[in-house]
């Protein structure tokens, strides 16, 4: 039975109340443009939520990653881990928007939608029922459709929203179809029941079960930006407001991975199907396409969008080798946390650049190191962390991922190629990250320093501390990740 | 020689009269009698004196009047009768016609006028018929750039939707056309059709004023559906059923309006809005937008829309009666039929009765129908009354009323219902 103090319910209570209350307050206040007021409320709600998640961890109320439960939600470490990662991104977005939203209408709705979307993401990670997962998935998606199109005067924002909406709606339709099949085959919507049902499935129904898992992959893959389903992603990331892009790239994507780990990995395990090869190929394709396309981009948002496609590929390595190596999921989770911070920081920095300089083209970023020193330092550190340069946090997650691939190669012959592909891709990515760094620091001469938004500086400082600090001393995160990583065999034999 | 019709000749007049009578009789014989026979085939024939009546024998009722009653009885048991006549269309249309008459007379009284007076000698009771004949005889004009299929379809669909609504209303115990288990949900589904028909007809006329009126109707209906549904949830909560007959039967002791007055008020106001009655007749606000979405309708198309409107009015009033005023429940006013009336009594050599017609009805049905009609007419009176008292309100006031006040009140009503249920006043163990 779900306790009333369990983390997901408390998160719903805090964030949902604030999220619904914000528009009502704005109607009642009849004032316009008091952006900071709403931002502070949203920020406070997010911080309180993070505090509650942390408190639950500290006070040992959290079940070690259970994955399955009799109920629709479970308060386990897996969900808690994702909740922390996603809440960090939400805080980034809120703080980053502090400055970015100043000139726009209806700030209350903007923050309210961010909060609602955050609830959705967090609950995707917590949910152990397909209905719950679907509803949470939609709660995550629908506000982001609006948020992407929030700049109504901006044609590219609207176009991005339309594309995003179309693919999102398609993805949810596909997910419903998958749910319908899995429900029909097993007679339940609880994920645990479904997995157990899959394990004991009549062989004649196997094709349908595979179809349902395939549909889940497709549906979640749309959000994660895996390669055959990634066409919308660069456009949307470029057109959307950069703060919202941070939310999309760093958070909704991660929610997709949470759902994938909950369902797909379990389903493959249960169905005894060797999906690892398919996932591996998907991973390599995703990495390569992302990185190669990123090199050719002139727009920094678009480049980071492709980079985030590539990172989906890295994370997928861990999922692919998960049945064969216990390190796989750990690496994925670690990478997810790191990527959330790195991408979030990078996009918030872009938001800061857009607000102050209104440029996104890479050539225009010449001499940014002198104009906006702290922001550009933050970007550079994020980029190098993304590339996996040693003293930074990104390095350790990549080490863990590639190590898991090597580890799995004991039972899975081709797994080492995954590691090789990953390393090659990292090297490739270093090229364009380095190019940006060169543009920012070694080109252009006589730019003057401009005033940087304080909120962006805050995010930058936090991300730099995080990336450098945990890069130098990764021990606590490693422990945390280990605690949060689900043990795959746990689910089948409750 | 008359000045008005200078070429009048009595012989011609008589001749044309005879001509008409001839054609009428001919058509009656050629079409009418076969139609009656075809109808008789679909009626389950009664057994008289141990012998199954055939449709042909049934036609000979003139020779043997005792056969008539069982045939009519059998007819009343058919679905056709239910749909076309008693709880269905015919009954509703009759009440709707009565509504129009009441509306005109009452409004006239309220406004210190006389109202329809001359047509039909008695207080202008035939005025409605005259108006109907006028509408039928008028030309139907369709705007040149209208979307013709939709324009034609809209009035018919409107009447159809209204009739579907009527079909869900239980009039007396067991007397309902469609006894759906989800009756209330079906009502919501049917109500949902009206805005679509409205907007389609408004769009298809391809004119400005109908379009504005249609958009207004759309806003009004869609935004008032929400408080409408919410206000009915209280009744659903205390009765635990969606079936309208069961809801009606559950009020045998006291009507729900005693416990849920807030819901009743909210439902009444939303009802006015859904019906586009004054003060919410914005879609037809004639001083702003001519006649709203009805502007381009003419002749019998307009007549159909009016018929649909009044059917809808009857249906809503009946729904209010069923949900809040106890439906057919009421003290027995029809005395139990004495046995002599049913089977006849022999007084010496003379046998009186059986009283024809009485075996067709049972007491419960008569009583139920009586109370139902009384209550419905009362509700209709209160629906019509604001027309004489209030001016039309504005669309933004209407929307803010619907979205803020009525929805809030509807929630209050739901909490009252829940409170009554949990306090044990109602529900199992409570009063009922």
């Amino acid at each position: 039975m779900l306790e009333i103090t369990s983390t997901p319910l408390v998160l719903i209570a805090i964030l949902g109340t604030v999220g619904v209350a914000l528009p009502i307050i704005s109607i009642a206040r009849k004032e316009k443009g008091s952006n900071s007021f709403y931002a502070v409320i949203a920020f406070a709600a997010l911080i309180v939520s993070m505090g509650y998640v942390g408190y639950q961890f500290v006070s040992d109320h959290v079940v070690p990653s259970a994955l399955f439960s009799e109920d629709v939600l479970v308060d386990d470490a897996f969900g808690g881990f994702f909740a922390l990662a996603l809440l960090i991104v939400a805080v980034f977005t809120t703080v980053g928007s502090f400055n970015y939203m100043r000139r726009h209408n209806s700030p209350a709705v903007y923050y309210s939608l961010i909060l609602l979307s955050t609830i959705g993401m967090v609950l995707v990670a917590y949910s152990t029922d397909l209905v719950m997962l679907f509803v949470a998935w939609e709660l995550m998606s629908i506000p982001t459709y609006v948020l992407v199109g929030f700049m109504k005067r901006n044609p590219s924002s609207n176009e991005a929203a339309l594309k995003y909406f179309l693919f999102g709606a398609l993805s949810s339709a596909v997910i419903v179809y998958g749910i319908s099949l899995s429900y029909g085959l097993t007679g339940s919507t609880n994920i645990g029941e479904v997995i157990r049902g899959y394990a004991a499935l009549d062989p004649s129904l196997y094709p349908l079960a595979l179809l349902s898992v395939g549909m889940f992959i497709a549906g979640f893959g749309f959000k994660m930006g895996l390669v055959p389903f990634h066409q919308w992603l660069p456009d949307t990331y470029e057109g959307a407001p950069p703060t919202i892009t941070a939310l999309l790239a760093a958070a909704t994507k991660k929610a997709g991975f949470a759902a994938t780990i909950r369902i797909v990995v379990m389903g493959t395990v249960a169905l005894n199907v060797d999906w690892t090869l398919a996932l591996g190929i998907l991973a390599v394709m995703t990495m390569t396409v992302g990185n190669v396309a990123a090199i050719m981009q002139k727009n920094i948002s678009r480049m980071l969008a492709y980079s985030s496609i590539a990172h989906a590929g890295y994370i997928l390595i861990g999922l692919a080798v998960a049945p064969h190596s216990s390190l796989g999921l750990q690496g994925s989770l670690y990478q997810i946390l790191n990527h959330a911070v790195m991408k979030g920081a990078a996009f918030i920095a872009i938001a800061g650049i857009v607000t102050t300089l209104a440029v996104t083209h890479i050539d225009k970023l010449k001499g940014l190191g002198r104009r906006m020193p702290i922001t550009s330092l933050g970007i550079v550190i994020s980029l190098f962390a993304l590339a996996g340069v040693p003293p930074l946090a990104g390095f350790w997650s990549k080490v863990l991922l590639f190590g898991s691939a090597l580890d799995a190669s004991a039972t899975l012959g081709w797994a080492s190629w995954l590691a090789i592909a990953g390393v090659l891709n990292s090297a490739l990515s270093l090229a364009y990250y380095g190019w940006i760094t060169r543009k920012m620091y070694f080109e252009g001469e006589k730019e003057k320093r401009v005033k940087e938004p304080k909120s962006v500086i805050g995010v930058m400082v936090f991300s730099m501390i995080f990336l450098v600090g945990f890069g130098v001393y990764p021990e606590p995160i490693l422990q945390f990740v280990e605690f949060a990583t689900p043990v795959l065999s746990l689910g089948l034999m409750p | 020689m008359s000045v008005i019709a200078p070429k009048f000749k009595l012989s011609e007049f008589v001749k044309s009269l005879l001509d008409n009578i001839f054609w009428v009789l001919l058509l009656m014989t050629i079409v009418g009698i076969p139609a009656v026979q075809i109808a008789l085939f679909y009626i389950e024939m009664p057994v008289i004196h141990g012998e199954l009546l055939t449709p042909f024998l049934a036609l000979t009722w003139l020779a043997d009047p005792t056969r008539l009653l069982p045939v009519i009885h059998a007819l009343m048991a058919t679905d056709f009768f239910r749909i076309a006549a008693f709880p269905g269309f015919g009954f509703a249309a009759l009440l709707a016609a009565g509504t129009i008459f009441i509306e005109r007379k009452m409004l006239a009284k309220l406004q210190l006028r006389v109202g329809p007076f001359y047509c039909g000698k008695i207080e202008g009771i035939l005025q409605l018929m005259g108006d109907g004949l006028k509408l039928i005889s008028k030309e139907i004009i369709i705007p040149a750039k209208a979307d013709k299929p939709l324009f034609w379809a809209a009035p018919v669909l409107f009447v159809g939707a209204a009739a579907a609504f009527v079909a869900l209303i239980p009039v007396a115990p067991g007397w309902v056309v469609a006894d759906v288990d989800m009756g209330l949900l079906a009502v919501f589904a049917v109500i949902g059709f009206f805005p679509i028909i409205t907007i389609l007809s408004a769009w298809s006329a391809n004119s400005k004023f109908p379009f504005i009126g249609g958009i207004r109707a759309l806003f009004q209906m869609v935004s008032f559906e929400i408080p409408l549904i919410l206000s009915l949830l209280g009744v659903v909560i205390v009765t635990g059923t969606l079936n309208l007959s069961e809801i009606s039967a559950s009020q045998s002791f006291f009507p729900w309006i005693v416990f849920l007055p807030v819901g009743a008020i909210v439902f009444f106001i939303t009802m006015l809005a859904e019906l586009e009655r004054i003060p919410f007749d914005l879609p037809e606000a004639e001083s702003e937008i001519v006649a709203g979405w009805l502007t381009e309708f003419s002749g019998m198309m307009y007549g159909l829309v009016q018929l649909g409107t009044y059917l809808k009015l009857y249906a809503f009033a009946a729904l209010f009666v069923v949900l809040f005023l106890g439906g057919w429940n009421g003290p027995m006013v029809v005395p139990p039929f004495p046995e002599e009336l049913l089977v006849g009594v022999e007084m010496g050599p003379v046998k009186v009765g059986p009283f024809p017609g009485l075996p067709l009805f049972d007491q419960a049905m008569l009583n139920g129908t009586f109370w139902f009609v009384i209550k419905t007419v009362g509700v209709i009176f209160f629906i019509l009354l604001p027309r004489g008292v209030f001016p039309r309100i504005r669309i933004d006031m209407l929307l803010s009323l619907g979205w803020t006040k009525l929805i809030g009140l509807a929630f209050v009503n739901i909490f009252i219902a829940l409170g009554l249920l949990y306090a044990g006043v109602l529900g199992p163990g409570g009063l009922q």
Partner: protein, 170 residues
């Protein structure tokens, strides 16, 4: 009897689905879409789920169809669209459709799903309510949040900027 109804519903549903996509006039397309949705509701009736069927009617016909019609009428200049899809894309789409239908149909026909039959009575709608308040209640709360979010979001999007900028007091 039911088979005839089933066939009729199938024809209506699929036919109007095709019509919804292929009719040149968007208004008629929307009406055809309403036909599809109504047909699906008819299937629900066949499946002894009147609650879902009526809910489908009330929600899809009562609100979604109205919204679509409203939008289509607002976008009234482009009522009849240029037929800009090129033939190659159309044939590719047709091929994709056929492949999907044949492959999935084969999978369904081939699988053990044909053996599933039932004579049990359908679930009552009270069970649905029960499952809503006992098992799915957090999902219901989330549902409310979704609706709140979508309503506020669409209002903000659909509100016009100029009206926003000089807001009236009344």
């Amino acid at each position: 009897m039911a088979d005839a109804v089933f066939l009729a519903l199938t024809v209506i549903t699929i036919g109007s689905a095709i019509a919804a996509l292929e009719l040149r006039s968007l208004i008629y397309g929307s009406i055809a879409l309403m036909g599809t949705l109504g047909g699906i509701a008819g299937f629900f009736f066949l499946l002894d789920s009147p609650f879902v069927a009526l809910f489908q009617l009330a929600v899809y016909v009562g609100s979604i169809a109205v919204l679509i019609l409203f939008t289509v009428m607002l976008v009234r200049r482009e009522l009849i669209f240029k037929n800009i899809e090129d033939r190659r894309r159309k044939f590719a789409g047709l091929a994709l459709m056929l492949v999907t239908m044949v492959a999935l149909g084969a999978v369904f026909l081939d699988s053990g799903i044909k053996t599933i039959t039932t004579d049990e009575p359908a679930a009552e709608f009270r069970d649905i309510g029960m499952s809503f308040v006992t098992y799915y209640w957090p999902a219901l709360i989330l549902m409310a949040l979704i609706l709140a979010g979508s309503v506020t979001g669409s209002l903000v999007l659909a509100k016009r900027e100029d009206v926003e900028n000089d807001q009236r007091t009344s």
